[in-house]
Amino acid sequence: MATWLKSFIAGAAVILVLYIINAMMSSTGFFGAGIDDYQARLLVFIGINVILATSLNLINGFTGQFSIGHAGFMAVGAYSSAYFSVTYGRGIEASLSGLGETVASSVVLLIAIVIGALVASIAGLIVGIPSLRLKGDYLAIVTLGFAEIIRIVILNIDAVGGATGYQVPGYANFLWIGIFAVITVVVIHNIVKSDAGRALVSIREDELAAEAMGVNTTRYKVTSFVIGSAFAGIAGVLFAHYNKFLSTNDFQFIKSFEIIIMIVIGGMGSMTGAILGAIIVTLLPELLRQLPDIHIGATEFRFADLRLVIFALILILTMILRPQGILGTAEIGGFLKRFRRADKPTGGLK
């Protein structure tokens, strides 16, 4: 079967599955077999976090740079696209009303995504070019500083609500978020498996050696930074248009840390690891929320607060007991592949 046909069928299957899940997103939907709003929301956030984690994994896991300001780029994407949707969304929807409501809102969302990704990648370029002269800790702290500056600047722009928050039309649903999560994973997977990906990994392994072998390290570092930022921007756009409300508090550096934690727990430099990490980090605090409260005398200790303590403990213990994360740089399914390859006849010169 031709490769393009294979990809086409795979793509169609993915969209079909996502469509069915999307239909199940309300308790009455999909012939009554739906899930409640809370679970639906969790699924959506898993999707957004998968985009964030895999895109940060490109920068931190595969290129070996240390960015701890990913939430800043997410904020840039979220706010720039939200400004577009609020200002021009209704107008575009009205002019496309002949095509039906769904198509019209989808068109607006797609334009918003393009805008968010572009603006975030420009921000990534502006941050990336000067900061990638720095290494390790210094790079980390500069990315953190930039993310905070971005947040404070947004906080001071009254056109996007400033400190009071920003109402955004809710164009995004699980279908879109799922599709873009899959696109992100596929694109980043393909980048990593390409020549450019090899160059990125060589920078991670030994930057000086990579440079000596003729890899233009600065160019590749900036490229990976820009691509990572663009996807963070997309995650921001989807978050904005799903959540319908933006506040700069959503993009504090604790959010950047959360994304770091996803890729660290899953295993830095592993695609499936980042996805696994995103799922764990989204679900674990919610599972811990189920724990009951305790009362000692008159004081009430709320487990809702303790869940973050447990979360931090898990992070520290992961670092002590398994610093490479759950998967390390391995992939789920990697074993299977190795198994299969052994059966195939190997040809060519050795």
Binding site: R133, D137, F257, V309, P323
Partner: protein, 305 residues
């Protein structure tokens, strides 16, 4: 002129606190090459420890110099013990791993302390009791300095002199300098590096706790997340001065404090609204790292292949 002097006094007050915290960052970085993200939270722990001592021992009811000294020393001791415990149980096991691992452990530690305190004390701010009578002294014109500000200056200068003495005149100080120069050679020379590292954490944590108690005398509102922003700015101060460099940390702290209050005071005249206060430190940081990555007083280190 009056306002300028007033702004400067206020700026240097905050700057002294940043300097006290920055010393801990810079010492730990100098020895372990680790950004101890939990250090800002130790400052918060110090403030809470002081709060508990002051309220449980009844110093809150009657302001006295004795009560203040006991609170200060007590909270420094508690913070030193916690700092050593953090090093022993979280950082030592990961010391042999990559930088990324240690940094993430530090981030985890920071989150752990913050949310443990939110859990125990709840997120609502507490009011720290006034331990010494507070008056305003008029310098000239409208510029005033409060006794709590004088207290901050005096205590932080005393502590910095003490630190300088420990590092340059005592045996353990010599060991600290040796370890920061080259940890492996220091080990070969028979220095107990684990002890020196633990001592460094104790020293840094005690200074941060002193900063916490002093801040609480100036601005009595304490809450579990107060260490995040202050800690970050103190870290910026350490980088500005040249990380690993002790006089640099003090200089950086004072500069950041002054810059911040001057932006609040005068920024609007050159088009920077005072709400950009928190961005100032980061903007300075980025400029410094791009123009002079080693910091103001630091020296460049050549990378070896």
């Amino acid at each position: 002129m009056d306002t300028f002097v007033q702004q400067l006094i206020n700026g240097l007050t905050i700057g002294s606190i940043y300097a006290l915290i920055a010393l801990g960052y810079t010492m730990v970085y100098g020895i372990l090459r680790l950004i101890n993200f939990a250090h800002g939270d130790i400052y918060m722990v110090g403030a809470y420890a002081g709060f508990i001592i002051a309220t449980s021992m009844g110093f809150a009811a009657q302001p006295s110099a004795f009560g203040f000294v006991v609170t200060l020393l007590g909270s420094m001791a508690i913070a030193a013990a916690i700092g050593m415990a953090i090093e022993r149980f979280a950082y030592r096991p990961v010391r042999k791993y990559s930088k990324m691992t240690t940094l993430i452990t530090a981030i985890g530690m920071s989150l752990l302390i913050e949310y443990l305190f939110v859990f125990i004390f709840s997120g609502t701010p507490r009011s720290f009791p006034q331990l010494l009578p507070n008056d305003n002294i008029t310098l000239f014109g409208n510029a005033t300095i409060s006794t709590s500000q004088i207290l901050i200056f005096v205590v932080s200068i005393l502590l910095m002199v003490l630190l300088q003495w420990i590092i340059f005149k005592t045996k353990i100080g010599k060991a600290m300098r040796a370890v920061s120069f080259n940890i492996n050679s220091a080990k070969l020379m028979g220095i107990n590096t684990d002890f020196v590292i633990a001592f460094t954490f104790a020293l840094g944590s005690a200074l941060a706790a002193a900063g916490g108690v002093l801040t609480a005398q100036y601005n009595p509102k304490i809450e579990p997340l107060m260490g995040i922003m202050t800690g970050l700015k103190a870290f910026v101060a350490a980088v500005l001065g040249g990380i690993g460099n002790i006089p640099g940390a003090v200089l950086g702290g004072l500069l950041i404090g002054a810059a911040e209050t001057l932006v609040v005071g005068y920024g609007s005249t050159i088009g920077i609204p005072s709400t950009y206060r928190d961005a100032v430190a980061f903007a300075i940081l980025i400029l410094v790292l791009l123009l002079r990555p080693a910091g103001l007083l630091g020296s460049n280190v050549q990378e070896k292949v």
